[in-house]
């Protein structure tokens, strides 16, 4: 034990050091306790009453969508749900029985709820609020969501639209809540579409955001919120949505809301914000015409109608058949299954902006191209034996018997294919595509505010990129709107609009105005000209004569649908498009083999105002099937705008037009 004593002495100095370290450490702790508990104690005491800051997101109301005359097409309505916290329910049996007595729950629903509650009471989730019954009848009819009026004699609410009488369940529950501990009412809004299936495609619909969208939205979206899924609801979602408010308050440790004045900083600086409702949207759609369009399509399985003002590009009607009910099904009882279209017909698809082979309605473009390029002269005549042999292939005219020798105007009126085959042969594919795409915008998006497909205007290059390669015969097919060309009804309507409005290719517009608070952004006030076409008036006049003759002469393909008091012009189209769809039954399969029926018309023939197009998918012959649809829509338009036509009839009187036709040697 060498140096034991020395060691101990050394340890004793170290012991002193150790005491100092211990003393300093404890002094620091003591000082900190003093600082926290004595110096700042009062402040912490105040803070300790604060349990937590509560932030409740307050949903804004979504903007209202109206038609051009102010008719509501989409709006938020409040509904009430009956909620229950199972653990707060004192006597589940009697309470549920009371709800059944009150007519709020059916006895089956009551039994189911009782079972659910008993299960929940035993689990940890018993404190979670669960749905006892959704959509209590409030002041709106559960069938059609129209506001009901109270009928004192019956003691019930009566729907002005459907005539059903209802008890105000929301009021009933409200007045009995005191005897239903654990139950509560939850208010929420649902999107209501008074126009239902009439405008389902243009207006679109909303549904709940997906988890993925919530994650990708950077906090902009919360689960449980809705988002526009199609149509205007989707494309203008940003404007319609509005800005959520934030109710910020401090909850005390006892669970109460503490008034800001009683709070220490920084809690007294917490600010709440009110939700800002979304902008209202006014559409260019005219419900009267829209209804006529739906009505006219009623007989047909599938198709679309577009009505566009030729001068402004405003879309007055856009209907796609079959339609669907955009409203969430919870509102309608199960027996009310009026709208449950065959899914094979793609009811959700907006066919007005979906591309199809256009058939002969494209001949207008071929005609312009041929005239502009000097391939044909106004008086160039062709013999049509019912077919045209090109490179040892026989290209048929739709009229198997053939036509007499005819010039451009009667060729358009009678829709002679051979005439256009010969013109196209001289033109070539790329010249055709130049006029189709670069002039008339066929195969390009129109820029309308609803999601649309692009269509296709093939070129030689396009074919070379494909396996098949290019064959000159394709040009002939394309000239009559067959082959690989695809165009949307809207794009064709716009092309015809450009033909008759002085050569302005417009952007079709569905949105008339965005109304934010008191300011009106009249989006569609001025027509938006995409391109000015360098059309030769004499060429246009020729084509217009042909299109007029198509409706107003016996040789015309649409002679059957002429309207005596409203001379209009149009072009039929019958596009071969046999299809096979999965899940189609025999009936549908046979239907799918038929041709697409097209008819595009502008009215009146002189100084046109409006262009109407109808596509009846696999409808058959354009003049027989699609033209009557257009006629009905035109009649509706005329009924509404007769005053605007008044001055047009002066000196018009059918005579001059027939003269023009006669001048061209038809008949």
């Amino acid at each position: 034990m060498i140096g034991l004593k020395g060691e101990l002495i050394e340890y004793r100095t170290h012991f002193r050091w150790a005491l100092i370290v211990v003393g300093v450490a404890f002094f620091i702790l003591l000082a900190r306790f003093f600082q926290l508990q004595v110096v700042q104690g009062g402040r912490f005491d105040a803070l300790a009453t604060v349990s937590h800051v509560v932030k409740i997101r307050m949903a804004p109301t979504r903007g209202v969508i109206r038609d051009r005359n102010g008719e509501v097409l989409a709006t938020d309505v409040g509904v009430a749900d009956l909620m229950v916290v199972p653990r707060y329910v004192k006597e589940p049996g009697p309470e549920v029985a009371r709800l059944v007595d009150l007519g709020i729950l059916s006895s089956e629903d009551g039994t189911a709820l009782l079972e659910k509650m008993e299960k929940a009471q035993k689990s940890r989730r018993g404190f979670h609020r669960v749905l006892a019954r959704s959509n209590l009848v409030g002041d709106r009819c559960p069938f059609d969501m129209t506001r009901m009026t109270f009928d004192p004699s019956r003691g019930k609410l009566v729907c002005t639209k459907c005539g059903n009488a209802w008890a105000d369940q929301r009021a009933v529950v409200q007045s009995h809540l005191h005897e239903l501990p654990g139950f509560s009412l939850r208010s929420r809004t649902v999107r209501h579409y008074p126009a239902r299936e009439f405008t389902a495609h243009v207006v679109g619909f909303v549904n709940e955001v997906t988890g993925e969208e919530v994650r990708e939205s950077d906090g902009r979206l919360r689960s449980g919120e809705t988002i526009g899924r199609s149509g205007i609801e989707r494309s203008l979602d940003r404007h319609l949505r509005g800005t959520p408010g934030l109710d910020v308050f401090v909850r005390s440790a006892a669970g109460k809301r503490i008034p800001p004045t009683e709070l220490p900083a920084p809690f007294n600086e917490l600010k709440s914000s009110s939700p800002v409702g979304g902008s209202d949207v006014r559409l260019t759609i005219d419900m009267a015409i829209q209804k006529a369009a739906r009505d006219a399509m009623k007989r047909h399985r599938s198709g679309a109608v577009v009505v566009m003002d030729v001068h402004s590009g405003q879309v007055l009607a856009m209907y796609s058949q079959p339609s669907f009910d955009p409203e969430p099904s919870v509102i309608r009882p199960a027996e009310e299954e009026r709208i449950r279209p065959n899914p094979i017909l793609s009811p959700r698809m907006n066919k007005a902006v979906t591309a199809y082979p256009p058939g002969s309605v494209f001949k207008m473009v071929t005609a312009i191209a041929a005239l502009m390029e000097g391939v044909i002269e106004p008086d160039t005549k062709q013999e049509c034996p019912g077919y045209y042999v090109y490179k040892r292939r026989k290209f048929r005219c739709h009229e198997r018997r053939g036509h007499d020798e005819l010039s451009l105007v009667p060729a358009l009126a009678a829709s002679c294919d051979v005439f256009f085959y010969i013109a196209a042969e001289a033109l070539g594919m790329d010249k055709l595509a130049l006029y189709g795409l670069d002039w008339f915008g066929i195969g390009a998006r129109t820029g309308v505010e609803v999601p649309e497909s692009k269509g296709l205007m093939p070129t030689e290059g396009w074919y070379h990129e494909r396996k098949r390669g290019f064959q000159p015969g394709f040009t002939l097919n394309t000239s009559v709107g067959q082959g690989d060309m695809r165009a949307t009804p809207l794009a064709i309507a716009r092309a015809y609009g450009a033909l008759v409005n002085g050569g302005r290719l417009l952007k079709p517009q569905v949105v008339l105005a965005l109304e934010e608070g008191n300011t009106d952004h009249e989006i569609a006030k001025t027509p938006q000209v995409i391109r000015r076409l360098d059309l030769d008036e004499t060429h246009v006049e020729l084509i217009r004569r042909g299109l007029h003759a198509a409706v107003n002469t016996e040789e015309g393909t649409a002679w059957d649908v002429r309207i005596g008091e409203l001379p209009f012009a149009g072009k039929t189209g019958t596009a071969q498009a046999p299809e096979v769809r999965k899940g189609a039954d025999e009936d549908v399969a046979a239907w799918l083999k038929q041709d697409h029926a097209w008819f595009v018309a502008y009215a009146p023939s002189k100084r046109p105002q409006v262009v109407v197009i109808a596509l009846v998918e696999h409808g058959g012959f354009g003049g027989k099937v699609a033209a009557p649809v257009v006629r009905k829509v035109l009649e509706a338009y005329y009924a509404e705008h007769a005053d605007r036509f008044a001055d047009l009839w002066e000196g018009y009187d059918h005579g001059p037009i027939l003269e023009i036709i006669n001048d061209d040697g038809v008949d």
Partner: protein
Amino acid sequence: MMSSGTKRIQPAVWMAMVTLLAIVLVGLLNLRNAASYASETFHQTQVLWVVIGLLLAMAVSVIDLRFFERLSPVFYWGAVIFLLLVLFFGRESHHARRWFDLGDIAFQPSEFAKPALVLFLARYFHGERSPERYTLRTLLKPMGYVAIPAVLILLEPDLGTTLVLIAVGFSIMFFEGVRLRSFIKLMGIIALVVPMAWHFNIIKPYQKERVRVWMDMATSEPQARKKLDKGMQPEQALWAVGSGRITGKGSMQGVQSRLKYLPEMHTDFIIATYAEERGFVGCVALLLLYLGLIVSLLMVAVQAKERFAVLVSVGAVAIILWQVVFNMGMVLGLLPVVGLTLPFMSYGGSATISAMFAVGLALNAGIHKGQV
């Protein structure tokens, strides 16, 4: 030669025993309240741990230290093996592997690494006593002995226990004597290593987050943060402590505790519940009790006549001291949050038994007067 010393028990030993029992009592009462806030009954289990711990402390304090000296390599390397095993076979909880499941109870090897390290270091210095004060080079080997379990515990990860282990190791070394120059160099190395550990992500992101929260709390005027995020938990503990004010809210009157806003209420943050109920007065009393225990144990230590006994005692005291200081510093917002229990106050079997074992070792020096 020392036999006479074993007969009479020094006053310091008595004082240590009394303060220890007082702290244990306060701790159990406090745990009872904490348990009732949480509607649980873990304080009853804790009584069992305390009893086992006290019996163990008594046993350890009377066993001949030579036994421990001889077995210290076994303890040390055994602890290292367990620390290795727990990394692979331990139960994962809260992103860490610290426990072995033994039926209903869990066993935390890092708790037992602390006394094992103390014994092993004491043995090392006992055998390798250099006449000069230690330099960095001569301290390399003992620092390695500290580093092995420290690194293993850091890998679990358990930053709190790692820090205590390092602090205990250095306490023993400094008590042995380190040159001032070497001391300064050592501090310089630490000043270099910590930012590097930070930079190369040896310190986990969640640990960094805690440091940031702490810096936020420390640099700004203590106040409620507007965001109610993770940073709120340590702040809630501060509110609880501060709101106790001078005399405290009284037994079972803790608002923060009752609402269970306190994180780790019955383990790492137990002092918050105590401070809220007992106030500054109670906290000073508790501090004095801890101070009494530590000082009396230190006095016991230096009275030992043998180097091994002195160093074991000092190391054992260091375990208690640094746990108390680090734990309270963390709850009071002076240090970043690291997982660490408060000896005799926090709930936990391994922690209680390990702390009692340390006290037993420290007392052993006084009872046996350090014969080896």
